[in-house]
């Protein structure tokens, strides 16, 4: 892997982790609001997708996934082929797989379990954030389920 790509991946990973850590701390303090989580989740998704804010077309998960794939193809096509192979027998689109992997990571890192079908139906980062917020609220004191 090229050094510049590796460094960018590490930076994105750190940026995503910062959003998660901040949100979990705010939840534990009782200061996390739905609106705040929407912002954190938006930046989390950008980091996970390797996008700068200027590269985000809007908050549509599909649009962000498409832009992320397009960017990755421009910079590292081999990595895209490796990571984006169809994950199901029904040949879900690459953008579907990318969003599904995002939600899997999100659940693990935020410490929540979401209804998978409902999460899959989410259109925007805001919708996804609201699902995460509801799940965190249901946990009460922020303890991990």
């Amino acid at each position: 892997m090229r050094r510049d790509i590796k460094e960018r991946l590490l930076a994105d990973k750190r940026a995503a982790a910062e959003q998660v850590d901040a949100a979990r701390a705010e939840h534990a303090e009782g200061t996390l609001t739905a609106e705040l989580l929407r912002e954190r989740l938006f930046w989390y998704v950008l980091a996970k997708f390797g996008l700068e804010a200027t590269e985000a077309p809007d908050r549509s998960l599909e649009a962000l996934a498409e832009e992320s794939l397009a960017k990755a193809l421009r910079t590292d096509p081999d990595r895209v082929l490796e990571a984006e192979r169809p994950a199901t027998c029904d040949g879900a689109r690459s953008v579907d797989t990318k969003q599904a992997l995002l939600v899997m990571a999100l659940q693990r890192e935020f410490g929540v379990v979401l209804d998978g079908l409902r999460a899959g139906l989410a259109d925007t980062t805001d919708e996804l954030a609201d699902l995460v917020f509801s799940a965190l609220e249901a946990q009460g004191d922020g303890s991990r389920k």
């Binding site: 192979r85 169809p86 994950a87 199901t88 027998c89 029904d90 040949g91 879900a92 689109r93 953008v95 579907d96 797989t97 969003q99 599904a100 992997l101 939600v103 899997m104 990571a105 659940q107 379990v113 209804d115 998978g116 079908l117 409902r118 999460a119 899959g120 139906l121 989410a122 259109d123």
Partner: protein, 511 residues
């Protein structure tokens, strides 16, 4: 209530059958690694696929005017259980559903096959995904009605065809016989040989009114009742409805160019139409036919000074099948064609232009001055269609009304208002004609192109056009097995008619 093709809506139920692995494991059914084969992943990605599926249903199905119901969602798992609750969910709206559009996932194949077999309704699979043939083949071979859509535009096409099928199968047709209620003494002798067979095979039903009782209803109800039904309350024309006919006559005559008929005769024709519409409304009908020669010979049309021509024209432009000469077959064909094309139908005596021994024998009612410019070579593959029942919506039931003329049927007395349409202005227009065989085994489907109109400036049973066909002699030989009238609509719907014919149990015959 009367029911035109425009009132027919297809009700569509989307169904999503998901499949989720509940545990992490690798093996010959796992095509990925890491998070993609952990519990929860399948549900998420299927949420995405469901979203895309419903977006396509909206784009390609709802946009056809179909009534799309709430989707049924079933989540199968690698426990391989098949629960009755799955089918209760999917079949909850089965009674009102006309078509299921299904997206399924690999692993849920048995659920899908059983669903297709349990419902008697047609099922179209989400195109391109789901390894469809794995499920469609066993379902089809077990008698399920599965439509193989190649792509989403074909799903939309199936919606159109099924809507036309529904229009035919749910049609009640008003018949006004004088003698035998199956076929008349003269005219539609080439119509269906058995109306019970029509109901059994095509689904449509028939409602009867005696033609004498109908004609009695064209005057306000006398205190003692009509002569044919003394003492009974019948849906006769009312004075208010006659007044409305007077207004409507003014409107029709004002926009006709030319208008060569006396107003009192337009009113009488409109009274006939109003009574027909009242009966169609009373009996929940989608079509109408009455016998021309049989009724004419009662002399009552002469006495009451009307014909049914304008009634047919006005019925057709509202999307009701309506044919003269008691041609029941034509009414059914018109309903099918209008539902597919969303245009009004036209029907006439359909005859070949015979080029033989170096000269052209133009069919009766084709006026030679109208076709003088057609060469012998061009006339070699032509046909003609003539009747007095064109209407103003040949270009579309929702399109602006076509220009038209009003003339009269009866030469001497001038009664019987008839419309005329200048078919020469439509030269080059593609048309599709069809007719079902009298014994319900085949449907003749013909493609043509209008060349020139004829009879625009004439009265009586005239007016129509000559049109190009692929092979006159071939069409003639085939037509001899189907009948004289070949109802038509503007546009090329031949392939859709062929598909519809098969669904109605009719072997398509193309020409």
């Amino acid at each position: 209530m009367k029911r035109s093709v425009a009132d027919i809506k297809l009700t569509v139920k989307p169904v999503f059958i998901g499949f989720e692995h509940q545990y992490y494991y690798e093996g010959p059914c796992r095509m990925a690694g890491g998070d993609a084969i952990k519990p929860g992943f399948d549900a998420i990605v299927q949420g995405k696929m469901l979203k895309g599926f419903l977006a396509n249903v909206d784009k390609y199905v709802a946009s056809t005017g179909a009534n799309v119901l709430e989707p049924a969602i079933v989540r199968g798992t690698d426990d391989w259980d098949i629960k009755d609750s799955y089918f209760e969910e999917m079949l909850a709206d089965d009674q009102k559903t006309d078509l299921y559009v299904v997206m399924s996932n690999f692993g849920a194949n048995q659920i899908l096959v059983e669903f297709c077999c349990r419902t008697g309704k047609p099922v179209v699979m989400n195109p391109t995904k789901s390894f469809g043939a794995m499920s469609t083949a066993p379902a089809l071979r077990r008698g399920a009605d599965v439509l193989p859509a190649f792509d989403w535009p074909e799903v939309a096409r199936y919606c159109s065809i099924l809507r036309a099928e529904k229009a035919v199968r749910t049609a009640n047709i008003l018949l006004a016989p004088r003698f035998d209620s199956t076929t008349p003494k003269a005219g539609g002798n080439d119509s269906f040989t058995c109306l019970s067979d029509v109901t059994r095979q095509l689904g449509c039903h028939f409602r009867h009114v005696n033609v004498h009782e109908l004609m009695d209803m064209m005057s306000p109800l006398p205190e003692e009742g009509n002569a044919t039904t003394p003492g009974r309350a019948t849906p006769n024309i009312t004075p208010e409805e006659v007044a409305r006919c007077e207004e409507m006559a003014n409107e029709l005559m004002a926009s006709a160019d030319p208008c060569v008929v006396d107003k009192r005769f337009v009113v009488k024709s409109l009274v006939a139409w109003t009574v027909v519409q009242k009966l169609m409304d009373l009996y929940d009908c989608s079509g109408f036919t009455a016998p021309c020669p049989d009724a004419c010979s009662t002399r009552r049309l002469n006495e009451q000074q009307f014909t049914f021509c304008l009634a047919h024209s006005l019925n057709l432009e509202q999307g009701f099948g309506s044919a003269c000469e008691y041609d029941v077959t034509s009414v059914v064909c018109m309903i099918a064609e209008m539902a597919l094309s969303n245009s009004a139908a036209y029907m006439g005596n359909t005859l070949p232009v015979v080029v033989t021994e170096g000269h052209v024998e133009w069919p009766v009612n084709v006026h030679e001055e109208d076709v003088a410019g057609i060469s012998l070579e061009d006339a070699a593959n032509m046909y003609s269609v003539i009747h007095s029942t064109p209407c103003r919506k040949l270009h579309g039931l929702e399109a602006a009304a076509d220009a038209y003329a009003l003339r009269h049927f009866a030469y001497d007395q001038g009664f019987g208002a008839i419309q005329r349409h200048d078919f020469t202005a439509d030269a080059g227009q593609k048309i599709t004609l069809c007719r079902i065989s009298p014994n319900l085994d085949e449907m003749l489907i013909v493609s043509g192109e209008i060349v020139a109109g004829t009879g625009f400036d004439t009265d009586n049973c005239n007016g129509g056009f000559v049109f190009k066909v692929a092979d006159t002699r071939d069409l003639f030989k085939k037509q001899m097995r189907f009948g004289l009238h070949l109802p038509l609509v503007y546009g090329d719907i031949a392939d859709d008619l062929e598909e519809l014919a098969k669904r109605l149990g009719l072997e398509p015959v193309r020409a």
